[in-house]
């Protein structure tokens, strides 16, 4: 097995050299590697010709819709008077739950969420009626005329309120391992407290959208901006009381998704389908940004009570963690998100004795849902915060505390066992720690920063600008924890000119899955990637597909596509072996000797004689050989029992680490990112520039979660941050001054297609290093009254200022 670890840097580096001064934006672009295609939609993107739902040509007789929503977050509907809406100009129809021919309950795990609310409303803005008009402005103006009266009840909005009211979704879950009692006896010291992280808006730029076109004979074609066309097909069919075979869902591309379109693209699509069902006219829905942010679910807020016992080196010997998430009004994916959180509370650390209890709280907010990381970030942040706290308690460098707790490279060791019993195999994290510690000059910078922070100014105080440093690892489990979803099918059509179309259940949301699939297929046939086209995702071509989620789409769909290619190749090799042997003296036909390379096929024993791939395809068709294949893949060897909390839920782990250095103005609470060094093990990358885009993109999204992005609700359960004016995702200037990203190029991962590793979600969690670095910086202001242990996620300027002031959250609110 080839270990490519000695090649410096693996290949790509972003960022200035260490010698350069304070300002060095990422400078050295990642050059496109020879033979690597551009993103498959890039030419359309840059010219504005790539189409999204709102860009599709206007259909004859097309309608637009608007929603009548709940005026409060919780209560019983006493009156829904839509007469004025119906009479308004331009209105074609108004539909309520009573107009749904099928079931008024849906949900990806539990069917508990009404399509349209009836007697009870459970979150502010929850749709009660759909208004259809020829023009969107007419529809919106009409919807505003609805008279909705609700007998209001006190809404449950926070985790504390839900716990007090006993409002939960799904059962209490537990994962436990080891002898806790013995662990507590061994513990020299303990820390305990509560860790809180807030939610995060996905902030895809294309809002939720769908276009539903009625077709002949009682069928619908749904164009949706969704990660999950099969779910759209099912939900639409159920709501209309139809068979799934009557609905086709097609996805060309999404203008971003990040988990927000895994389940929640369904409602707008169903609303449009309901109107199309009644009017037999095409119907388009495109949420406005405010509407989208107000109505759709987000990353879950989590509270975790922790009790950690450790020895004198900071090694954890006992850990008890009690986790609660804010699920919103309906189940959606909350139980699955909770599960992934529980499975990532260890992050990269061995917890010899551990008990994790967890539960989803039901509140009167829109149902929270998937967002890149899917509970993983919320879990990892807890243990990383604990690492800082343990180190502060023992006056050790947090890096050393992390190091002694890290899962070992030796997979046979007892310390390689996770709380749920899966063994951490092929673990490169110890190596990643070593390399990063060196390449980032961690120890040297730690000394410099300690000296800087220890300085006193002319007034005997710490410097105005405090600096912080932190190294945080990421170990992210790859596979859906719901075993069923780990399957995929692919359809590969080869044409007589040697060009190829591929269709899978993977949807393109910008992550480049189409480009990567095209490369995989091109390589299977040994042809130029330009001959391969990945077609829009459609439930007509690929049935019963899993959502494009859990970072696993290239893994699953790529593996299925490889199998389909292999089937075709086998038939072509059979034909080619005869053709090649016939024209070469003394060569017996041997299909296993046929190679596919450079756009041609050849017999490895006589490689000079070649048949052009297109010519071979033409011949195959003449000879009545099938040039198409549909193939199926299911991830082997995974299983998890959520009742017992034990099993092997993941095919493998994607790992990496990040060193973050930050500067904090202790007077104003402002924060600046000085430098980030990232090193990841993503196996053998298929397309380096695309994987780098995922790494940096995920990282910056994570930086948003841990720093500037804050959801603010009022006491009625209304989200106040419903647009980029008030909800601040990172801008270009929020990039660190110095950003260095490297990968450990290796082919050690035998558990995945082409020795790759999934890369979609894991980099997001690298950003936790930024948060722990802020916490580290605040440690220098303890003498001034700062309480670094109080810092929550997100560390906004205000949150930093509060923590520096020593005020508790309660005191801060009371003072306001």
């Amino acid at each position: 097995m080839k270990r490519d670890l000695d090649r410096p840097g693996g290949s790509a580096t972003l960022g200035g050299d260490a010698a350069s001064s304070a300002v060095s934006w990422p400078r050295r672009p990642i050059a496109r590697q020879p033979g690597q295609p551009p993103h498959d939609s890039a030419l359309g993107h840059v010219q504005g010709s790539a189409r999204y739902i709102d860009d599709l040509p206007l259909r004859e007789g097309e309608l637009r819709i608007a929603l009548v929503g709940a005026p409060c977050a919780r209560g019983r509907v006493t009156r829904l008077d839509l007469d004025a809406v119906r009479a308004a100009p331009g209105v074609v129809g108004v539909y309520t739950a009573a107009d749904l021919p099928g079931a008024n309950l849906w949900g990806p795990i539990f069917h508990d969420e009404p399509v349209l609310a009836e007697e009870v409303v459970a979150y502010l803005g929850q749709p009660l009626a759909v208004v259809a008009a020829d023009d969107e402005r007419d529809a919106r103006a009409a919807a505003a005329l609805a008279r909705v009266e609700v007998e209001e009840e006190e809404p449950v909005l926070t985790i504390e309120q839900a716990v007090a009211a006993g409002e939960f979704i799904g059962p209490q879950r537990q994962i436990a391992r080891g002898d806790l009692e013995a662990g507590w006896e061994r513990a020299r010291q303990r820390i305990e407290g509560r860790f809180e992280s807030k939610g995060q808006e996905q902030f895809y730029l294309e809002s939720q959208a769908a276009l539903v076109v009625p077709e002949e004979g009682g069928s619908l074609l749904v164009y949706s901006s969704t990660q999950n066309p099969t779910e759209i097909q099912k939900v639409v069919a159920d709501a209309l009381g139809w068979r799934q075979s009557q609905v086709v869902c097609e996805v060309l591309r999404m203008g971003g998704a990040f988990g927000g379109k895994e389940t929640q693209a369904a409602l707008p699509a169903v609303f449009a389908a309901l109107v199309a069902f009644h009017t037999h006219r095409p119907v388009r829905v495109v949420y406005g940004k405010d509407e989208d942010m107000l109505l759709t679910g987000k990353r879950h807020e989590f509270h975790t009570d922790y009790r950690i016992g450790f020895d004198e080196r900071g090694r954890i010997v006992a850990a008890e963690l009690d986790v609660r998430s804010n699920g919103g009004a309906y189940a959606d994916l909350s139980t699955a998100v909770l599960e992934r959180c529980m499975l990532h509370l260890d992050n990269a650390y061995h917890l010899p004795a551990v008990r994790i209890g967890a539960r989803v709280c039901r509140t009167n907010l829109p149902p929270n849902t998937a967002f890149r990381g899917f509970g993983g970030p919320q879990g990892m942040a807890v243990i990383e915060s604990c690492m800082e706290e343990i180190a502060a308690r023992l006056r050790l460098d947090p890096l050393d505390v992390r190091r002694v707790n890290l899962y070992p490279a030796d997979e046979a060791s007892d310390a390689a066992l996770t709380p749920y019993g899966q063994r951490v195999r092929g673990n490169l994290l110890p190596e990643i720690f070593d390399r990063l510690e060196q390449s980032s000059d961690y120890r040297l910078r730690r000394r410099e920063i300690s000296q800087h922070n220890a300085r006193t100014d002319a007034w005997g105080e710490p410097p105005c600008v405090l600096r912080g440093l932190s190294l945080v690892p990421v170990k992210f489990g790859i596979s859906f924890t719901n075993k069923t979803l780990n399957q995929a099918n692919a359809l590969v059509n080869v044409y007589t000119d040697g060009s190829v179309q591929v269709s899978t259940g993977a949807t393109e949301m910008g992550q480049g899955v189409n480009t990567k699939l095209a490369m995989i297929v091109a390589q299977e046939f040994g042809i130029d990637h330009r001959r391969v086209v990945v077609r829009p995702t459609s439930t007509e071509k690929n049935n019963n597909t899993s959502p494009t989620a859990a970072s696993a789409s290239t893994d699953l769909n790529g593996a299925a596509a490889v199998k389909a290619c292999a089937a075709i190749r086998e038939r072509l090799a059979e034909l080619a072996s005869g053709l090649l042997a016939g024209s070469t003296d003394g060569l017996a036909p041997a299909p296993e000797q046929v190679g596919f390379e450079g756009g041609a096929v050849f017999d490895r024993r006589a490689p000079e004689r070649r048949i052009d791939f297109a010519e071979l395809c033409r011949r195959a068709h003449v000879e009545r050989i099938d040039l198409g294949a549909r193939s199926f893949y299911a991830t082997p060897g995974i299983d998890f029992d959520r009742e017992t909390g034990r099993g092997c839920p993941f095919a493998y782990y994607t790992t990496g680490a990040c060193v973050a250095e930050v500067r904090v103005d202790r007077l104003l609470g402002t924060l600046e990112l000085e430098r980030l060094d990232v090193l990841m093990d993503i196996g053998k990358p298929i397309h380096l520039a695309i994987e780098m885009g995922q790494i940096v993109g995920g990282l910056v999204q994570g930086i948003g979660w841990v720093t500037g992005e804050e959801l603010v609700y009022d006491g009625r359960g209304e989200l106040l941050t419903t647009s980029p004016t008030t909800y601040k995702i990172p801008a270009a200037s929020d990039l660190p001054r110095d950003l260095r990203v490297e990968i450990l190029d290796n082919d050690l991962n035998r558990h995945n297609v082409r020795s790759t590793k999934a890369v979609g979600e894991p980099p997001l969690m690298l950003a936790i290093a930024v948060w722990t670095a802020v916490r580290d910086a605040l440690g220098a202001a303890v003498a001034l009254g700062a309480r670094p242990g109080d810092l929550r996620i997100p560390a906004t300027h205000e949150e930093i200022a509060r923590t520096l002031s020593g005020c508790s959250v309660e005191e801060w609110i009371a003072a306001s």
Binding site: H45, G48, G693, V696
Partner: protein, 543 residues
């Protein structure tokens, strides 16, 4: 879709009007083609016109509030017939986009009213490349090609906006003749656009790559610019008055006509930059039957002038005179490189994004009367005076008297703001100006808190002091007690800390979506120490 949007494409321009004739439709060019537009579309936004009427779907809509840049387009204006402004340098200059006949800047099309584009050339992402839907890299505009080569696009939804913003940024670089954008220019240049996928690194790569490209930045749609500019230049001097379903839209070109229009329609919506009105329009908060007076093209209401006091220094101790319709980008250009206004420049570079600054006006920020308007604390401490005009004549008043309460102005129904005038601090006589903007995000954000301090030092003694905070009350506030606590005192930390304590007790901030009252009170206290440290020469700062 609005059927009544009467737009027709013409190769040749409209007939030239006699000097005082009034046009009854808008004239603008899109990607090299002239359009005459009347009806509902004239009252709507530019992005609606592009997407719905022209089916130019490359311009994307995300937020409809000018806070994401996805809808960015380039707008070329004929040089405004002003008294020569510093920004214009008295004559148009050629740059990467244009021969100089038109001056291009990127704006957010979602919050620009179509009538603001009368006499302008709009270039959308479709107008950059040589032909529609180019299928090869070679046919692309250099910025587009760099974005492809450097993987600057992932989902692609923000990409057209970035392509436009980068093109504008590089053209600006051309104009200033700088060899390579420095990090600050790059940051500022991309500050008006959001991307959620890439984390920006590969977009930054694309800017660097395009910067190295030798290929011309000129959009294909600018091929016949001279002829176009002549038609548009004429159009931009013609007054417009159009009616649709009982609504009147007026675009006066001179003060006399403007004042008459205002006197006749004191309730009409006044539009200059429209960056706030456009947002309210999109949110359905404006009356759909309101008459509209667009004063963006009125001669004598724009421009930025620096009247120098001392010959050797362009600004110090002199006066800065801004027309009400001067854009923030014009003001920024005018104060470029002036050390006496370095802080103002810092704050203004964080005012909206480039697209907002290219549209929004100085007067708009004042008349909008928001207590968190970024410019106001500065204007308060710089003892700004404003000029109000009506058919009855002109009057001047100190800026503080203009504001009577939350969004309450000393402004008669027939009056209009014409000029803002401030004194520029003179470091030579011990004058110092310090400004702070605190916001959730460094760029493209509305302030949580703003502060301005003007001081004159006599040796180590504080002779004059003026202090104003924004975001701590219904209007921007002067802080007389805090000022009193500093006046006549020595420049010492203890004095400033005490002033901070006084300041935090002198304000009554509220909690809102941008911050808790406790945070604002803390900032009000700590900013004084922060200012002191800067006065004391501590350079280190976290932006």
């Amino acid at each position: 879709m609005r059927a009544e949007a009467a737009s027709e494409r013409r190769r040749v321009g409209p007939e030239p009007h006699p000097r005082d004739a009034v046009r009854d439709h808008l004239v603008l060019a899109v990607n090299g083609q002239l359009h005459r537009v009347g009806g509902e579309a004239a009252f709507g936004t530019l992005s609606d016109f592009l997407r719905r009427d022209r089916r130019l779907i490359g311009t994307k809509i995300v937020c409809s509030e000018g806070d994401c840049g996805a809808c960015s387009v380039l707008v070329g204006e004929p040089r405004r017939s002003e008294a020569p402004s510093v920004a214009d340098g008295g004559g148009a200059t050629a740059d990467g986009l244009s021969s100089g006949a038109l001056r291009y800047r990127a704006i957010d099309s979602c919050i620009a009213f179509l009538h603001q584009l009368d006499g302008c050339h709009v270039i959308t992402v479709e107008g950059l490349a040589g032909r529609a839907e180019a299928q090869s890299l070679a046919e692309l505009h250099p910025v587009q090609r760099s974005m492809v080569e450097c993987f600057g696009s992932q989902c692609g939804f923000c990409t057209p906006g970035f392509v436009i913003a980068i093109t504008d940024l590089l053209a600006e670089q051309d104009r200033t003749g700088s060899a390579e954008l420095d990090d600050e220019e790059l940051r500022v240049g991309l500050g008006g656009n959001l991307c959620r996928c890439t984390g920006y690194a590969q977009i930054v790569d694309a800017v660097r790559e395009a910067e190295r490209s030798a290929q011309s930045l000129a959009p294909a749609a600018c091929a016949d610019e001279q002829a176009l500019a002549a038609v548009l230049g004429r159009a931009s001097r013609e007054p417009v008055r159009l009616e649709h379903r009982g609504r009147v839209l007026e675009l006066p070109r001179d003060e006399q006509r403007l004042l008459a229009a205002r006197a006749a329609r004191p309730a009409a919506r006044l539009v200059a930059g429209g960056t706030d009105l456009g947002v309210r329009f999109n949110k359905g908060q404006l009356s759909p039957s309101e008459d509209v007076i667009d004063l963006g093209g009125v001669a004598g209401f724009g421009g930025v002038r620096l009247l120098a006091a001392a010959a050797e220094d362009a600004a110090a101790g002199g006066r800065l005179v801004c027309g009400a319709t001067a854009r923030w980008s014009e003001l920024l250009d005018a104060i470029e490189g002036l050390p006496s206004l370095a802080d103002l420049r810092q704050v203004l570079r964080r005012f909206g994004g480039p697209q907002i600054r290219n549209l929004g006006t100085v007067g708009g920020n004042l008349v909008n009367a928001s207590p968190i308007a970024d410019s106001l604390p500065f204007l308060y401490v710089a003892s700004a005076r404003i000029e109000l005009v009506s058919q009855r004549g002109a009057r001047w008043l100190p800026i503080e008297q203009f504001y009577r309460g939350y969004k309450q102005l000393d402004l008669e129904p027939d009056e209009l703001l014409r000029t803002v005038e401030v004194r520029v601090p003179d470091p030579g006589t011990g004058e110092r100006l310090l400004l702070l903007k605190a916001s959730r995000r460094r760029d493209l954000d509305i302030s949580t808190f703003t502060a301005a301090l003007w001081m004159r030092l006599e040796g180590e003694r504080i002779d004059t002091v003026r202090l104003a905070f924004g975001g701590v009350g219904p209007t921007v506030l002067r802080l007389p007690r805090s000022e009193e606590s500093l006046r006549g005192q020595r420049l010492e930390m203890e004095r400033f800390r005490m002033a901070g304590e006084v300041a935090s007790s002198e304000i009554r901030p509220i909690s809102d979506v941008r911050g808790a009252a406790a945070y604002r009170r803390l900032l009000a206290r700590q900013v004084m120490e922060s200012f002191f440290r800067r006065l004391h020469g501590e350079q280190e700062e976290v932006a």
